[in-house]
């Protein structure tokens, strides 16, 4: 589905990512772990070819090298992003956030209505400005906004940030639901709390390099790795 090869990323002069190589198979959920500032967000920005950073290396999505595509073409080819910090549009209402980007996908069809069914909390505030919502609600909207583009690969950047435990549970459930629908998921996270509930595999990034890759089971059992890289 997605192959990242020899990816190096730079913010101006400073290199953030070093020789990143990994692969994502269809319909799996992979969690990227790493502490603050290790380059996780940068990895997602590189995949979307957002500028900065500047990238070297190749990124193949559905057997197409997308590393030189502008980010809107990457998004159109079927990658959805839920960015860190949500980045909602202050000028748009909740409903507009969902209608603006709604487009049909290959096999799934998320509509604004379906998003509202999933998150009734925001359905009630349909006509409010997106940024008037509470942090948790904003996060739901950001997820919804990515869903209506009906991506086949969904990139999540710390989607649980600022969410109450119940909502977090709900997001996790949603992700599992999406997985059932055949969506592939790359999820960036700092904490390793809920991994066994969703992830098929785990990747750990430390200071811009991939230092560990394994399936979830192995990771959970590997106390050493956890304490070394995640301070647990």
């Amino acid at each position: 589905m997605l192959q990242v090869e020899n990816l190096n990323s730079f913010y101006g002069q400073s290199q953030i990512l070093y020789d990143i190589n990994f692969e994502l198979y269809k319909n799996e959920t992979v969690i990227v772990l790493g502490r603050n500032g290790m380059g996780k967000t940068t990895l997602l920005r590189s995949i979307m070819n957002m500028n900065p950073p500047d990238n070297e290396g190749s990124i193949n999505f559905k057997n197409l090298d997308i590393s030189k595509f502008p980010s809107y073409d990457i998004a159109k080819s079927g990658i959805g992003l839920v960015p860190q910090g949500r980045r909602l549009f202050p000028s748009l209402s909740v409903y507009e956030h969902l209608t603006m980007t709604h487009r049909k996908g290959e096999n799934n069809d998320w509509t604004p209505e379906k998003v509202f069914d999933l998150f009734p909390e925001i359905a009630r505030r349909k006509n409010n400005k997106g940024t008037d919502l509470s942090g948790g609600e904003q996060q739901m909207l950001a997820i919804g906004r990515a869903l209506v583009t009906n991506p086949s690969l969904l990139l999540l950047d710390e989607p649980l940030e600022g969410l109450a435990p119940v909502i977090s549970e709900k997001v996790i459930d949603t992700v599992n639901l999406l997985k059932e629908e055949g969506i592939t998921i790359l999820w960036v996270e700092q904490k390793a709390v809920f991994i066994e509930k969703v992830a098929d595999r785990v990747i750990i990034i430390e200071k811009g390099e991939i230092v560990y890759q394994a399936n979830t089971q192995e990771f959970i059992e590997n106390k050493e790795v956890k304490s070394e890289y995640l301070g647990v």
């Binding site: 913010y11 101006g12 002069q13 400073s14 953030i16 502490r35 603050n36 500032g37 860190q84 910090g85 940024t131 008037d132 509470s134 942090g135 710390e158 940030e161 600022g162 700092q190 904490k191 390793a192 709390v193 200071k207 956890k226 995640l230 301070g231 647990v232």
Partner: protein, 250 residues
């Protein structure tokens, strides 16, 4: 409890919200002279905002800031800087089109004689000397006449710290000085900071626990705009709440 006189900086119920977000909420703490205070907390906890409030970079909503027994919360940023507070920025803030020399000189000069147009700044020997000295200290003397934009990221960070150091401050506030740097440069910075903080007070934000626990006498943990805990490093390291919120893990 020691008397107020014993503190160099004190905040009382400091608050700031952006729209609906309470970025800093009723924050009160005190810092003793020559103390090193580390500040940690999850992303968006309000650390940088707190720095901005103390340095006057953004206006406060309510509360008090007392520096050396004077209320400074009403002063504009540049006046606060003149009282002896200096800082670095999370994303490095330099005069990119100016040389290292000029960058350091401006910091050393601190608005003295700015309006005397008759004397070339190059003639201010004392401050030039000082700039040279600091440049050597941070290892940038070789690049003394190079424009800051030509420096790599790590050296830019060093320059930012150099600017904070040179400006003769009593209170130095560093916002993630080591972020985005490889281990070796982190060490340099850490050492440099250690060396200079013997004479002055330091408040430092960083996500790198090694640096924080190495440098700090006390650690303040913020979460969702509030102080979650404050105490000496061991105490904080063993605080379960902090572990859960910040460090992560089961």
């Amino acid at each position: 409890m020691p008397d107020n006189e014993d503190y160099i900086l004190q905040t009382i119920n400091l608050s700031k919200s952006f729209g609906g977000i309470k970025a800093v909420n009723n924050v009160s703490f005190k810092v003793k002279p020559k103390e090193n205070l580390g500040v940690i907390g999850p992303n968006g906890a309000g650390k940088t905002t707190m720095f901005n409030l103390i340095t006057g970079y953004i206006p406060i909503d309510s509360g008090e800031i007392i520096f050396e027994n004077n209320n400074i919360e009403k002063l504009p940023a540049r006046k606060r800087s003149l009282t002896g507070i200096s800082r670095t920025f999370q994303t490095s803030q330099l005069f990119l089109d100016l040389t290292i020399k000029e960058n350091l000189f401006l910091a050393a000069n601190k608005n003295q004689n700015t309006y005397n147009i008759f004397i070339p700044w190059n003639k201010d020997k004392e401050k030039i000397e000082k700039s040279i000295e600091i440049a050597k200290e941070i290892g940038l003397y070789d690049n003394f006449n190079v424009k800051a934009k030509e420096l790599p990221h790590g050296k830019r960070r060093l320059l930012g710290i150099g600017q904070a150091l040179i400006s003769d401050s009593k209170l130095l506030m560093l916002d993630e000085p080591a972020a985005g740097l490889p281990a070796q440069e982190r060490n340099t910075i850490s050492k440099l900071i250690k060396k200079i903080t013997k004479e002055l007070t330091l408040i430092i934000i960083d996500h790198d626990m090694d640096i924080i626990f190495d440098l700090a006498d006390r650690v303040l943990v913020m979460n969702q705009g509030e102080i979650l805990a404050i105490g000496d490093p061991e105490e904080i390291q063993n605080n379960e709440e902090v572990q859960r919120i910040y460090v992560g893990g089961e």
